[in-house]
C-alpha cells in the first residue's frame, strides 16, 4: 500500500486550513452519501453518528463554504428552497455527472449518459466563451427539468 492520501487533504493543507475533526466528518458524510444533502441533512447525519458531541450547524455551513471555494464540493439549487451539496470527485477519482430534476416530486437522477459528448462540446464552448468574454471559467452546471413517470 503506497501512501494513498485523500485527495482533498492536500487541497486543504495547501490553502492553510486545519484538518479538524468536524471538517473531516463533514467530508465523510458527503463521501458516504449517494445523493445531494442539504446543510441540515448533513447536520442530522452527524448527530446520528456522534451522539455525544454535536457539530454545530454554523460549522457545517462554514465548512461547506470553504469546500466549495476550494472546488472540493459543488453547490446546487434544485428549486426546493435549500442549497444542496455534493463532492466534486468520488473518494477515489473523478465521476462527473449531470442532473435530471423532476418538478413534481423533486426526485433527482444523476446521469452519466452522454457525458462524454457533452464534455467535448462543453470544453469547446468553455474555451470560446473564455476568450470572447475574457473570463476564466472554473466549472459548469447542466440540469434538465421535467416530470418523472409518477408525476407525469
Amino acid at each position: 500500500m503506497g501512501s494513498k492520501k485523500k485527495w482533498w487533504q492536500g487541497k486543504m493543507k495547501k490553502a492553510g486550513l486545519r484538518l479538524t475533526a468536524p471538517r473531516l466528518s463533514i467530508i465523510d458524510v458527503l463521501i458516504h452519501s449517494d445523493d445531494h444533502p442539504s446543510a441540515e441533512e448533513i447536520y442530522l447525519a452527524l448527530r446520528r453518528q456522534y451522539k455525544k458531541h454535536t457539530i454545530g450547524l454554523t460549522t457545517i455551513y462554514r465548512t461547506l463554504d470553504i469546500l466549495v471555494q476550494l472546488g472540493i464540493v459543488y453547490k446546487f439549487d434544485f428549486g426546493d428552497g435549500r442549497t444542496r451539496y455534493e463532492l466534486s470527485e468520488g473518494p477515489n477519482g473523478f465521476h462527473h455527472h449531470h442532473h435530471l430534476v423532476c418538478n413534481g416530486c423533486g426526485h433527482i437522477v444523476d446521469y452519466t449518459d452522454f457525458i462524454d459528448e457533452e464534455k467535448e462540446l462543453l470544453d469547446r464552448t468553455e474555451k470560446g466563451l473564455a476568450k470572447k468574454y475574457n473570463f476564466s471559467i472554473h466549472h459548469h452546471l447542466i440540469q434538465f427539468y421535467g416530470l418523472c413517470e409518477h408525476c407525469r
Copy 2:
C-alpha cells in the same frame, strides 16, 4: 397588421387565469428588462412606474410562480441569495441563451454563441434521457461559472 396577440396571453387564458392589471404589468417589466430581475427589483420598478397604486410584493411572488408554471418565465439561481427571473421568449419570438456567471462580482453574461451546437446536442441528450429515465423533459439549464476580467 394581423391580430398579433401577445403570445403569453393565450397561455394564461387557456389556463383559466385572468389577465389582470398587476399580472400584465409584471410581464411588462420583464419585457422591458434586459437582465434578470429579482422579485424585489420588479416590485421597485413597478413602484417607480405607478406612483399611486403599488403592486404588493406578495402579488409579485405569486404571479411569478404562476408564470414559471406556465413556462412563460424562467427562474434562475445565480448564487446571490435571491431568485431571478426572465421571460422564456422575447416579446416577438424566441431568443434562447445561456448564462456565464462571475463568482467574483456576480456579473452575468447572456451568451448566444455556440447555442446552435449546444442545442443540437441538448436535443439529442434530452431525447435519450427522456427515454431511458422515463421523464418528460420541459427545459434545461446551462451555466458556466468563473471570474470576469476585473475579478481575475
